[in-house]
Structure formats: structure tokens, C-alpha cells
């Protein structure tokens, strides 16, 4: 059996063990129950990973490696500093904004990096429509710029058709 570990924050024996991989570096944290509770690990509402990766004394202005750069989500205005402080995100767009920080963190805290579970039918349909719309709009701009007017007209019709069907879907 492994020898008992001491808590990283006090001298009690550690019973809570976390292993995370951030930017390809392995972080191991061993805590006793009371420190784990203080840090919110035993809190069923989740805990802040960012908090745990910051040792006492280097909080606030001393950014940890993943916090350099100071990104801001352009959808909701959420900042990297806020993310570091709470370990939570501001909106769905934050997953794109902070993707570079999140993906190594996600790999460390989960069993995999790709969703394998339930897929909500309507959300996926909506996404497909949106993706198609975005790509058509890009193509349309290009077609106009390159003066392929016949193609541009066809694309414009297709966009209108697509928008109409999205509206219909939503009003149902």
C-alpha cells in the first residue's frame, strides 16, 4: 500500500488527492479533509481548479502560467482574471475565448476531451444551420468580390431559404 501522504497545506495526513495536467505539466495536490473542505473540494457545487493551482501567497496579481495574456470574452465581457478567481466561466462563448487555457485543463480533469454522451437534437440542428449559413455568407462575399454574379445570386437565394426555414423552426 502507498505510504500515507501529508497534506500540502498543513501536517495532517492527506486523504484527498488531485492530479491535473496543465500545459503538459503534472500537478499533484494532496490535502487533508479539513483543508480540502476549506478549498471547496468537498463542496458538491464544484470547486475552483484555478484556486487550487495557485499556492497561498501568489494569489491575485501574480498570474499563474495559464493566466498570462489577459483574454476577455467578446460575447459577455468575462475576463481571464475572473476565470482564474472563480474557476467558472461567463457564457458559452467563453469556451471559445479561453479554449487555449481550457483544453489542457479539461484533459486533466476529465476522462477524455470529446463529448461521448447524449446529443440534444434541436441544438445540433440549429448548429448545423448556423454553420451552413456562416459558410454560405463567406462564399457569397468571395463570389461578389471575384465577380461570379451568377453563383452569388444562387447563394443569396440559398441564404434566404435557410433563414426562412430557421425562422419557421423557431416560430413552431
Amino acid at each position: 500500500m502507498a505510504k500515507p501522504l501529508k497534506c500540502d497545506l498543513c501536517d495532517e495526513s492527506a486523504t484527498v488527492h488531485l492530479t491535473q495536467i496543465v500545459n503538459n505539466q503534472i500537478h499533484k495536490i494532496d490535502l487533508c479533509e479539513s483543508c480540502a473542505e476549506q478549498k471547496g473540494i468537498t463542496d458538491p457545487n464544484g470547486y475552483s481548479l484555478a484556486d487550487l493551482l495557485v499556492k497561498p501567497g501568489e494569489e491575485s496579481d501574480e498570474p499563474i502560467e495559464m493566466a498570462a495574456g489577459g483574454l476577455v470574452c467578446d460575447e459577455c465581457g468575462y475576463t481571464q482574471r475572473e476565470f482564474k478567481k472563480t474557476g467558472r466561466l461567463g457564457c458559452e462563448g467563453c469556451y471559445d475565448t479561453f479554449a487555449a487555457l481550457l483544453s489542457p485543463a479539461l484533459a486533466g480533469m476529465h476522462k477524455g476531451e470529446r463529448h461521448k454522451g447524449k446529443v440534444p437534437a434541436r441544438a445540433v440542428e440549429r448548429k448545423t444551420y448556423e454553420d451552413r449559413l456562416n459558410s454560405l455568407e463567406g462564399d457569397l462575399k468571395l463570389a461578389i468580390k471575384e465577380e461570379y454574379y451568377e453563383d452569388a445570386a444562387r447563394m443569396r437565394d440559398e441564404i434566404l431559404e435557410l433563414k426562412k426555414s430557421i425562422d419557421q423552426e423557431e416560430s413552431e
Binding site: E33, A36, E37, D43, P44, R88, R114, K118, P120, R122
Partner: protein, 365 residues
Amino acid sequence: MTEASSKKCPVVLMTRIRLARNLSDTPFPGWAKTPQRKDVLETCLPAVASLSQMKRGITAEVEELSDLEKQILVERHLISHELSSSPEKAGVVISKDQSVSVMINEEDHLRIQVIKSGYRFKQAWNSVTGVDTALEDELDYAFSSQIGFLTACPTNVGTGMRASAMMHLPALVISNQMEKVVRAVNQLGIAVRGLFGEGSDASGSIFQISNQTTLGESEQEIIKRLSSVLRTIIDQEMNAREKILEKDPNKLFDKIGRAYGILQNSHLLTSSECMNLASLVRFGVDLEMFPEKTRNVVDRMFIECQPGHIQHHAGKAIDSDERDAFRSQYLRDQFESINKPVFTIQENRPQEKQPEVERPEEPKE
């Protein structure tokens, strides 16, 4: 809990699954401004309340609930601490049988939860996914094909699912093995918490055991992995029980006998002491020292002896000293008619039944 179901699996008190969901194009509740939270509440509350599963249920905005009502809902695991202390524009819809509850504007826009008594992940999953699918018809969820359901905390992203079993593990606690168990399961990505999430030395020897990871596995894979850990814990608990009875039955009989004596005669009982006494009596029921019907009394005690419920019984808000007196009075009444334990168990104790793990067919609830 029905007598039949609890007899089949004395270790697992209840099964719970919750799904975290968010609306597309709206900031998560923790970052949303009040008008945005209001919009979310006004969109979600009627959508949830009109589901067939919520027919004749309770719909409430948290601000409308009294402190006592909130406390009772927390004690029944129908809302979280976070929701009960939520600043504004939060809500909850609870089904008539109290098995389904949907919290609005908690950490995520929607927290859909199903509770089933006993060890019933399949039924809990079928129920929770049914509510989720019906809601998705009405609401636009934030979802990415790459990383699944998008949640306020990245620890929930993917399935957004937390599946947990509430387990009664008195023998592992008495024989000081819980720490070892916690250490072992933590390494498997499984979390162990107390009944109300207050750390592992939980009163009443009740532990909530749940998955920690939500991305990279399907819901079924997560439940399967969790179930296999739970089965191992059940085996460990059963082994610990055998050992205690083999090595030092008097030590256990003494604890159970004293618990019975205190419950019949005490005049001041804190909720934490009450939980520990209930746990010992429940252990006694498992060992057939008390009649099976006593199980219902003790299983109710775990919830009804909490401070909110005691005040509800008392019909008014009372302070903690008065609560301790009221609680002991209530328990004296409950235990007056319960016969004293039979301590002859070690001679012809029946073989401990193997708990039935996941029953394929659901009897009528």
C-alpha cells in the same frame, strides 16, 4: 422507501442523478445581470412547470419562499444550499411525488434532478433524460459537438451529469476503514461526501458517492463505472460487518443497545447525535435485531430530525435548545412502541443477503 426495496439493498438509501443545462446566447447565472436572470427565469419556469412530469407539482421563485421552507427543501435534497441563498431571480419546480426537481438560475440555468429511493440508477436515468428531452423541445440549450453541454464550471462540461448514491456504511466507519475507501475511490475519479456535503466524517455514517468527471464518457459509461465502484464498497461494508460480528459482537451490541436506550429516554438530542443513533438502529435492523418496519422509522429520522423539519413539526421557529428538547420528545414517542433489540444474533444469524444491485424490473412505486 418501500420495505421490499430497502430489504434488497440495505446499504444504498437513495440514488440521485442531476443534469446541468444552460440556455444558448445568455450568460451563465453567476455572470448574468439581473434583467438577464429575470429573462431566464421567465422563460424556464413556465417551460418546466408545463411538463407532464411536473403536473400538480410545486412551482416557486426562491424569493417567495420563507427561510424555513427553503431549509426544509434543502434538507430533503430538493434544492441546493447555493439556490437557497441565491440573491435573486432563482426558481424551482418540484414534481408532486418530489422525485423530480428542476432548479433555475443555480450555478447553471437549469439543474434537473431525479431522486429514487434505493439503488436504481436505470430508473433515475430514464426519468431525468425524459425531463431533459422534453425541455429541449422548448428551450435552446448551449451545446458543442466537441465538448458537449456547456456549463458554468468546466468540471461539469460534457454530459453535465452527476450521478450519486447515498450509502449507509456503519461498519466501515466503526472499523476505521472509511479513509482508506475514500482514498481508493478518489483515485478512480469518484467523489465521497457527507449526507449534506459537509465532509467525509459525516454524521450517521451516510456518504454521498458520485462521479467526478463528466467529459469523455457517455452517461451510461459513467453510471457503469460508478456502479462497479459502489458494488465494491457494498462488498467492503458487508465484509466489515462480518468481521465486527466475528471479532467483537459485544462491542457492536453495546453500541446498538445504548442507541436504543438513548432514543427511548433522552431529553435533549442534537441533530448530529440523532443521525448517529439512527445509523446504529438501522444497522440493527439490517442484522435483524429490530423488526423490519423499524427501518422506515430510522430512514425518516435522517431527514425529519434536521433543524428545519423539527421546526416544521413544532409549527413555529424555535431555537436550537428547544429543538433538541422537541427532537428527543418526538423520538421518545417514536421509540416507545419499538421492542428492545434481540441480541442473540451471533448464534443463528442468517447469511447476510447479497444486495441486489440493479433490478431489471421496476415494481410499482
